[in-house]
């Protein structure tokens, strides 16, 4: 059996570029968080889940999708996407229920008398752990019998595979290499993900929502986290696995990976746009004069913007008051870098921008 052509053509046409994929999933996430109360109802979430499972199932009839999806190392990625989706639902369902209770002036479910009461770890917890352990052992054993671990040809430094992909959990960062130089995509961003996570408890001063599920009481924190984790991490991994083919070109989910697919590379630097296209005066010799506009822009974004936000946007004014100068700066820089990722991607997709600041003389490109 093959999938009907109009369906595969339609999907390939819609998901035709990284831009569309990222923007669609971002919009999807925003909508899902806006309507979380309706969407998480079992009556609604059930059919959506089944629909997604059905789409996944029929996708296996497509030879291209099947080839990629059944690579042994890609099977975990499907499991990851499925389990993240499932647990996001589990969490947001409980948030929806708790938020309703909070609105009625009731405590969250976790604070009910029966729940606060202490219970014996033996046997109540120990047997839950034991059952989890048994089930997971069975699952892992079955998985291991059913699916052989991959082993390709012996390592050969002379033969570069195309595409060359990093291990799947780093594919989001590899995607960033399209938009940024390695020192940002491979060093700065991962470092800031780690420092960002580490400073989180010292930045999020909202005392509410500690120890129970709630969305209403911590909308900002949860939205940022969900964006970072679900879109910028999990979905980019999905995209890197299924939609990035030879030469790191973008392919629709049902589009055969053609090695010769050409994507026009006409990316230009900001300095070129300014001096060649707008002013038409030719590129200045001196790199500092050449890049001054980009430098000003980036400095403006990271130095002036935090101040402006703190002064004019009430939410950020509140943050500034709560956190003080230093913590506010640390927080805002992380937030701006996260936003900057998206901005740079958008600029690439819209005006083919390569670098805002491009100083190859010092390997310094932004």
């Amino acid at each position: 059996m093959e999938l009907p052509k109009f369906y595969t053509d339609l999907v390939n046409a819609v998901v035709s570029r990284a831009a569309v994929f990222v923007i669609l999933s971002s919009v999807g996430l925003v909508l899902a968080m806006k309507y979380y109360r309706v969407l998480t109802k079992p009556k609604v979430a059930g059919p959506i889940g089944l629909g997604a499972a059905f789409l996944l199932f029929i996708s296996f009839f497509d030879p291209q999708f099947k080839t990629v999806a059944t690579l042994p190392d890609n099977v975990p990625i499907i499991m990851m996407v499925a389990s993240v989706t499932f647990f996001v639902w589990v969490a947001f369902r409980q948030m929806a229920l708790n938020d309703e209770r909070l609105e009625k002036g009731l405590p969250p479910k976790e604070a009910e008398a029966g729940e606060v009461q202490k219970t014996f770890v033996w046997p109540d917890l120990v047997y839950i752990e034991f059952i989890c352990l048994i089930l997971f052992t069975v699952f892992l054993t079955v998985w291991s019998i059913a699916l052989k671990a991959p082993l390709e040809q012996p390592a050969n430094p002379a033969k570069t595979p195309n595409p060359s992909k990093a291990p799947w959990y780093f594919l989001g960062l590899q995607e960033m290499l399209v938009y940024f130089d390695p020192w940002i995509a491979g060093v700065l961003l991962p470092t800031m993900i780690i420092t960002g996570l580490m400073m989180l408890p010292y930045i999020d001063k909202n005392p509410k929502g500690n120890g129970y599920y709630t969305f209403k009481e911590r909308k900002f924190a949860i939205s940022i986290f969900m964006y970072g984790f679900v879109v910028a991490w999990v979905l980019l991994i999905f995209m890197g696995t299924f939609l990035r083919g030879p030469n790191w070109n973008f392919f629709g989910p049902y589009e055969p990976w053609d090695i010769h697919k050409l994507e026009p590379l006409t990316n230009v630097n900001l300095s070129e746009i300014i001096y060649l296209q707008v002013l038409g005066v030719g590129m200045p010799r001196n790199w500092f004069i050449r890049e001054i506009w980009g430098i000003l822009l980036v400095l403006g974004y990271f130095v002036a913007m935090p101040g402006l936000l703190a002064r004019f946007v009430p939410m950020f004014r509140e943050f500034y008051k709560q956190l003080g100068m230093i913590r506010y700066s640390v927080f805002i820089v992380h937030l701006l870098v996260m936003g900057g990722m998206l901005i740079k991607m958008l600029l690439r997709w819209t005006i083919n921008l390569k670098y805002l600041v491009g100083i190859p003389e010092y390997f310094f490109n932004i």
């Binding site: 969490a91 033996w122 917890l125 054993t141 390592a155 291990p167 390695p182 909202n206």
Partner: protein, 278 residues
């Protein structure tokens, strides 16, 4: 709750004189061998249930009693527990794999092949590999759960940070292990991954600022002296890198992770157990 004394002898389930001896299970439970190991009677009374946890070095990771909301599957998803379980699975299967695997360019690939072809119980490599993937997934889900229940808020800020380091270690463990089969997949994935290190600001030879570090005309940071070189023990992913990754994968990172897990679990208890509404 910390004040329970060691039981001598197990009080509640010792048969009283003149009473019938009880079921076989009870007899076994009260026999000398059993009581020498487990210093408590049948865990069917509050006292013995407490002792079952307190007097066992492994189980006493838990407190004897815990708030009901904290043991709900729908609250913790058992994800931290599963992650720990997977770490144990990886340790066990990893030790078995080490019996057969030699981390040299000469033998590595062939040893992996023979793991599949010649060795009884030929799914150890599979369990190890899928378990590693699963652990990466469960650790992310665990982090998401901790985040979404706000469990990083005071007093658990520090333990969240221990967790972040564990997350990094989990990824590093997985990444270093990826190279060991020494096949095309391994070599090139690690090449892509470590190429980034070249661009580390200042200390990578293609990173911004590296060209500023000079002594006269001699640049200090070049392909033969930068961080990538230190990581790989060479300019390319070559046998020296295989050995380095092997040692990191089998010794350094597991030890670090195990140590931090001990801290992590200890802190879960010290911070008041699994979080709940104040």
């Amino acid at each position: 709750m910390a004040e329970v004394k060691a039981p001598e002898p197990p009080a509640s389930s010792a048969p009283e004189p003149g009473k019938r001896k009880g079921s076989l299970l009870e007899q076994l439970w009260n026999g000398q061998i059993w009581t020498s190991i487990f210093r408590h009677g049948m865990p069917d009374t509050p006292r013995n249930r407490t002792l079952a946890i307190m007097s066992n070095v492994f189980l006493h990771l838990h407190p004897p009693k815990i708030r009901r909301s904290g043991i709900r599957m729908k609250y913790t998803w058992c994800m931290g527990g599963l992650t720990f379980f997977l770490f144990l699975v990886e340790t066990l299967t990893g030790v078995l794999l080490m019996f057969y695997y030699r981390p040299t360019a000469e033998f590595a690939y062939a040893d992996i092949v023979s793991l599949r072809e010649d060795i009884p119980l030929g799914i150890m490599r599979e369990i190890h590999r899928w378990g590693a993937h699963a652990m990466v997934i469960t650790v992310w889900l665990h982090m998401m759960r901790v985040f979404l229940t706000g469990s990083y808020k005071p007093p658990r800020e520090f333990n969240w940070n221990v967790g972040v380091i564990l997350l990094v270690l989990t990824l590093l463990l997985s990444f270093t292990g990826y190279l060991l089969p020494w096949d095309q997949l391994a070599m090139w994935a690690v090449t892509v991954g470590t190429n980034m290190a070249r661009a580390t600001p200042v200390v990578g030879h293609e990173g911004p600022g590296a060209s500023l570090l000079k002594l006269g005309d001699i640049s200090l940071v070049h392909a033969g002296s930068d961080v990538r070189y230190a990581l790989l023990g060479g300019r390319f992913v070559a046998p020296a890198a295989l050995l380095r990754f092997y040692v990191l994968h089998c010794v350094a990172f597991p030890l670090a992770a195990a140590t931090l897990m001990a801290v992590h679990f200890w802190r879960v208890r010290k911070d008041g157990g699994v979080s709940g509404p104040m």
